[in-house]
Amino acid sequence: MTDLYHIPGAWSLIYREDGKPDIRRHVSEQQQHASETDSTLPPSHPLRQVSLGTPELNTLLGGAGIPCGSLTELWGHAGAGKTRIGIQACIEAVRDGQSAAVYIDTEGGFSWERWQQWGGGHTPPDALHVYRVWSLAELLAARYVVEEVVMAARTGTVRLVVLDSVAFPFRAHAAVSPRTLLTFAAQWQRLAYTHNVAVLMVNHSTIGGEHPGRLRYTPALGPLWQHVCAHRIYVAPGYARVTQSALCPEPDAAPMRPTQASLDERSPAHHAAAATPSFRGSLAA
């Protein structure tokens, strides 16, 4: 097996002394100075992963949550619970008092009532930074702000950046060139890797037909966006599933993990959804 340690940022599968396999990541000096991450830390160390709120969601990517230093995407239909998972991840990230989180809101789904409703009442002040973004230019410009916040690190190290609905400004803009999309993606990848933050992007779903007789849904933003996020999680009301990830080699065989919404009101929500004939249109088809 080739040794990939000379490539900064590469993941390698190695075998520990006791014979168990482990995933290690080559950390450059810059990253080490920036985040004090030791490359000998196990993948489930809290400095390597950011919790998503419930233990079931955390086991989706095989560990304690989503990995730091790469982009993770949550996609799903409207009302599936993507914003909720983003807010809960922020709550978990700032809970220990030494970490900070950044939430960039594009659609207005963030409110302080929801923050308190899901257990965010006891967070230290100024641990969560919320930005409301109203257009594509502001979304592209938000990267600079986040970079400054991450480097300043006023209230602890920034562990998590949530971009709620990266899809909405791009879809609202006429004829966004592929170059814009990929430059945006590359800049966020660089930010995530350099400062070892977990970046959670929320995406929409759209119709991508493979079978003409039946609707199939794919993540929005087109085929170019497939290659941007390292890990993709499909969110539906009641469960979440990994669709693409290097940490989960066979995504179709991954079991459905219930989300917190279904833990609150378990099967009645499903029965409500199934019994109403017009609920969500053709999703049940």
């Binding site: 923050w115 100024d126 899809a167 909405f168 879809r171 800049q187 779903s205 409500a272 959804a273 088809a285």
Partner: protein, 358 residues
């Protein structure tokens, strides 16, 4: 049209570049080169022309500096320490004036709410009730066929006002009616361009001149959009989706500075259900529009068999940002004095007849 910067800088397309440059011009530290420093205000046409000319000459526009400055001045920013002061129990939404309806349905400030249902289900009744109950002012864009139901609105307002106001007809009731601005389909809003112009130009102007406006109602958006796009053609559906996203963005930008709730009524279309060999109603305007709204409520009218509690209509939460769980229902009925909620059904609640029904 594309503006590029350095390899590390951000690439913007032309519209975004013009937007950023206009903000910088309003702040006073950017002018198109070639204009006097103490001249007239920079207009959007100037900015567009400058951008186009720079690109035509083969030049590169580096927006790095503009973006950094733009960011520091214009991004809306809070932290949770500031938010703790804001949560003083103030209700950030508009209500219907009925306790059971308010427990389930709400129109929140800064969000786009949708009421979808079949024709005659009661969407317009609920919207009129919302307008009548609004202490501030309302903008009502009426694009459905037929005249605006003024008499119905007058009945609802009369039911709300105190009885002693009846002795002086015209004072209190007309004041309530004067707070509602109506745009008619056959006069002003007929095509997509009209709707675009309404949202981009006229609505921000109106919001600036009348800062007491708290509610914008569009009844319905589909009546304007449907005749323009052919549902059978895929590329037209793609363009329609993009237009809807742009409209949602403009609506949100228009209500940026002041707390205004936007409520849209949406008719249904039908999708064939292969499993049950029947047709099922589905909200109109497609899958894209469901991503534009923050909350969606389904209004249903049971024809024939009466529903629970004797009421024949119900409103069900399909999804709602910050609202009750999906599946929560309120049964209501409509009479001369307005809409009255009869019963609230939470998902999974056990009922008297022993069944656990949604």
């Amino acid at each position: 049209m594309e503006c590029t910067g350095d390899a590390d800088a951000t690439t913007l397309d032309g519209d975004s570049a013009v937007y950023v440059l206009m903000q910088a011009a309003q702040d006073g530290w950017w002018r198109p080169s070639g204009t006097k420093s103490s001249g007239a205000k920079v207009t959007e046409a100037d900015a567009r022309q400058w951008v186009r000319r720079r690109l035509a000459l083969g030049g590169r526009i580096n927006l790095e500096r503009e973006l950094r400055n733009f960011v520091s001045k214009h991004l809306v920013y809070t932290t949770n320490s500031q938010a703790g002061k804001a949560l003083d129990g103030s209700v950030p939404s508009l209500r219907f004036g009925d306790a059971r309806l308010d427990a389930v349905l709400s129109a929140r400030y800064g969000m786009i709410t949708e009421l979808c249902g079949e024709a005659g289900a009661g969407k317009t009744q609920l919207l009129l009730q919302l307008a009548a109950n609004n202490p501030g002012e309302t903008v009502y864009v009426h694009t459905e066929g037929g005249a605006f139901p003024v008499s119905r609105l007058r009945e609802m307002v009369r039911a709300r006002s105190a009885p002693q106001a009846w002795s002086e007809p015209g004072t209190e009731r007309s004041a309530a009616l004067d707070r509602i601005y109506v745009e008619h389909a056959n006069e002003r809003v007929r095509t997509l361009g009209d709707m675009d112009e309404l949202v981009r130009r006229r609505l921000p102007q109106l919001l600036r001149f009348r800062p007491e406006i708290r509610l914008v109602i569009v009844d319905s958006l589909a009546a304007v959009v449907r005749p323009e796009y052919n549902r059978a053609e895929r590329h037209q559906m793609v363009r329609r989706a993009q237009w809807l996203f742009a409209l949602a963005l403009q609506l949100r930008q228009a209500v940026r500075q002041i707390p205004v709730a936007v409520v849209v009524a949406n008719p249904v279309t039908y999708r064939y259900d292969y499993v049950h060999n029947t047709r099922r109603p589905v909200p109109a305007l497609g899958h894209a529009w469901s991503h534009c709204v923050n909350a969606r409520y389904w209004i249903q009218r049971e024809s024939g068999a009466p529903g629970v509690g004797g009421a024949a209509r119900y409103a069900q939460v399909m999804f709602s940002a910050g609202g009750p769980t999906p599946g929560t229902r309120v049964c209501f009925d409509v009479d001369a004095s307005g809409v009255h909620g009869r019963e609230v059904i939470r998902p999974g609640v056990l009922h008297e007849d022993g069944g656990s029904r949604p």
